[in-house]
């Protein structure tokens, strides 16, 4: 077991490339569990943050500061009666949430959490991601149709129209980022050569191209990279049906959109798929424009001293969370009614602190002993941490948008998609190609 662990930690390939099925399976399980936990956390954070945006407290009853609310919700949804409308198309109704879930979890196969921390590195990585996530719309359409009811059908039609039209602009923005992998050109930080002018579609390859060109594609050919990223950032919100583009679920017009007739477990599968898809598109954006697993300021603050500082962040985050938990313990009301909650929160803080100390210990141990395995673990941990950190920023932005902007009207949505985003993304693509040829 230890040997296996050591041989893996020393490897520089992804399990898929090394053809190691055991590790691939373990990765899949880790990612599945991780995404599920992330969705639950996101659920809690979203409700709390939205509440604080609106000067409310949000969930406070189940667990300290409502920390156990997602678990309570999950249990409620699991034991709820499972209703299938009598006039519904049973089979399609049954399979629709599964298709959505399958599509949004399959894309994680190629998400590069680090140079070797991905299930596999496909030659067609980004194409695979876009293709499989475009299948998610099928789940929505099928759910809306199978419900045999007006609101779900209108919601599904809106949703498919919206997803299909924003996919175009999104795809063009992605193409301009892929184009940058093949162009040497002048980045913000100077010239670098990458290959012989051949680009790559592989997710790991795209990040490596940014590494070799010493520039995140966000800053390359300023402001072209910025514009492409902006288009993607808007289109990805429309793709995942989130506010301010949550027309398919506009509760003031359509009750709940395509999943109006769903309840209990099936409904929760839709929610799981939606949040998993949000994380997945955020990780596409991070991979293509924000340097994937690279730490911030790789050029400006370079050198091994800064590497050490940035690798400490993972442990420090957990320690900071632990401190917040302990502050919560101190501020808890001194009353016997709250005793269990206080002890629980203290235990949670202790757990976070232990994880933080463990991560810090690995980094310091690697620095002191220069042990090969420890060095590689530190590197992998830092890479994964910075990738997840950037994705987490996007997830917070999702909540922020939802709290800030009012919902679009459907004709406005279509007009923005076809008459603004599409021409702009086409223009950005053409100008990127011209600039690349001139500077290359």
């Amino acid at each position: 077991m230890l040997d296996l662990l050591r041989s893996y930690l020393g490897s520089t390939l992804t399990p898929g490339q090394a053809n190691n099925q055991l590790w691939a399976l373990i990765y899949v399980l880790i990612i599945f569990a991780g995404v599920s936990v992330a969705v639950m956390t996101m659920n809690w954070v979203e409700r709390k943050a939205l509440a604080h945006f609106q000067v409310r407290l949000g969930p406070m009853r189940v667990g300290p500061h409502g920390l156990l609310q997602p678990i309570a919700d999950a249990i409620k949804l699991l034991i709820k009666e499972d209703i299938i409308p009598s006039e519904a198309d049973k089979f399609v109704f049954w399979i629709a949430p599964l298709i959505g879930l399958l599509a949004s979890f399959t894309v994680y196969t190629v998400v590069p959490f680090g140079p070797s921390q991905a299930v596999s590195d496909m030659n067609i990585g980004i194409l695979f991601m876009l293709g499989v996530s475009s299948l998610a719309v099928l789940g929505v359409v099928m759910a809306g149709w199978a419900s045999n009811s007006h609101y779900p059908l209108i919601g599904a039609l809106r949703s498919s129209a919206q997803m299909v039209s924003y996919e175009v602009a999104m795809g063009l923005a992605v193409v301009s980022a892929i184009l940058m992998t093949s162009l040497h050109g002048l980045g913000l930080y100077g010239v670098s050569k990458f290959g012989d002018g051949t680009g790559t579609l592989s997710m790991i390859g795209i990040v490596q191209a940014q590494q070799e060109q010493h520039v995140w594609f966000l800053f390359k050919f300023f402001p072209l990279g910025f514009m492409a990223f902006g288009i993607f950032a808007i289109a990805m919100i429309a793709e995942t049906n989130r506010a301010p583009f949550d027309l398919p679920e506009a509760e003031s017009e359509l009750t709940a959109g395509y999943h109006t007739e769903y309840s209990g477990l099936r409904w929760s599968l839709f929610m799981l798929a939606e949040y998993a898809a949000m994380i997945a598109v955020s990780s596409i954006a991070v991979t293509l424009w924000l340097g994937g697993w690279m730490r911030p300021f790789p050029n400006w603050l370079s050198g091994s001293a800064w590497d050490l500082v940035f690798s400490l962040f993972a442990g420090l985050t957990f320690v900071a969370l632990a401190v917040i938990a302990f502050v919560g313990v101190v501020r808890m009301p001194r009353h016997s009614y709250f005793r269990v909650q206080t002890i629980g929160l203290a235990g949670f803080g202790l757990l976070l602190a232990l994880i933080g100390i463990l991560l810090l210990g690995i980094v310091i141990g690697a620095k002191v002993s220069h042990h090969d395995i420890l060095n590689r673990t530190t590197e992998g941990m830092t890479n994964v941490y910075w990738f997840l950190f950037k994705v987490a920023v996007f997830m917070y932005l999702y909540i922020w948008y939802r709290a800030t902007w009012p919902r679009y009207r459907f004709d406005q949505l279509m007009r923005v998609g076809w008459k603004v985003m599409l021409p702009v993304s086409l223009g950005v693509l053409i100008v990127t190609a011209i600039v690349g040829v001139i500077l290359g």
């Binding site: 053809n19 198309d89 399609v92 496909m122 030659n123 067609i124 194409l127 695979f128 876009l130 293709g131 499989v132 475009s134 299948l135 719309v137 099928l138 359409v141 099928m142 149709w145 059908l153 599904a156 039609l157 498919s160 129209a161 997803m163 299909v164 996919e167 002018g197 051949t198 680009g199 790559t200 579609l201």
Partner: protein, 175 residues
């Protein structure tokens, strides 16, 4: 590299494709037919993957399963289906269909009978990791030279452009 292209996967994917195809023509409900067609298209994408053509497989999923089929479903949902499902078929096209089907079957049978002789013994084997790049070079050429298929590719894209313009002109009365 051990091949993933084991016979098991080939039979699984072909079986799925054939089953999906049968369902497409036997279901009364148009939505069910469309869903079965999606299964067939995805199985064919899997077959492309087995032929070490990941790019074609990806494009198959994006264009057919993700794009065209969604539009199909979209149209089917907007058309009233309750009536058409009950109506008897009134056109007399089945002899033509039978003829076309039979000739296609005959073609397949002859290919099956002739066997390997019809195909190039061994095409150039590209490593999977360069497949997409090779397609790019074939379509667009490299280092200033025209690719093998650049002209055909550009002509095809012009044809599509004409089709798009035609659709816009037909749909919009006043431009």
């Amino acid at each position: 590299m051990t091949p993933v292209a084991t016979p098991f996967f080939f039979y699984l994917l072909s079986g799925l494709a054939i089953a999906g195809g049968l369902l497409v023509i036997t279901r009364r409900n148009a939505i069910h037919s469309a869903l079965a067609l999606i299964v067939t298209l995805l199985a064919i994408a899997g077959l492309y993957l087995m032929l070490y053509a990941p790019f074609v497989a990806g494009v198959q999923i994006i264009v057919y399963a993700g794009g065209i089929m969604v539009l199909f479903l979209f149209v089917i949902m907007l058309v009233s289906l309750e009536r058409t499902a009950k109506e008897r078929q009134f056109n007399r096209m089945w002899p033509v269909g039978l003829l076309a089907g039979c000739s296609l079957l005959a073609l397949f049978m002859s290919v099956y009978a002739k066997g390997k002789g019809l195909f190039v013994e061994r095409g150039p084997q590209l490593p999977e990791s360069e497949n997409t790049q090779q397609i790019g070079i074939m379509l667009y050429g490299e280092a200033g030279r025209m690719g093998q298929y650049t002209f055909a590719f550009e002509i095809a894209s012009l044809l599509l452009l004409v089709a798009i313009l035609g659709a816009v002109i037909m749909a919009k009365k006043r431009i």
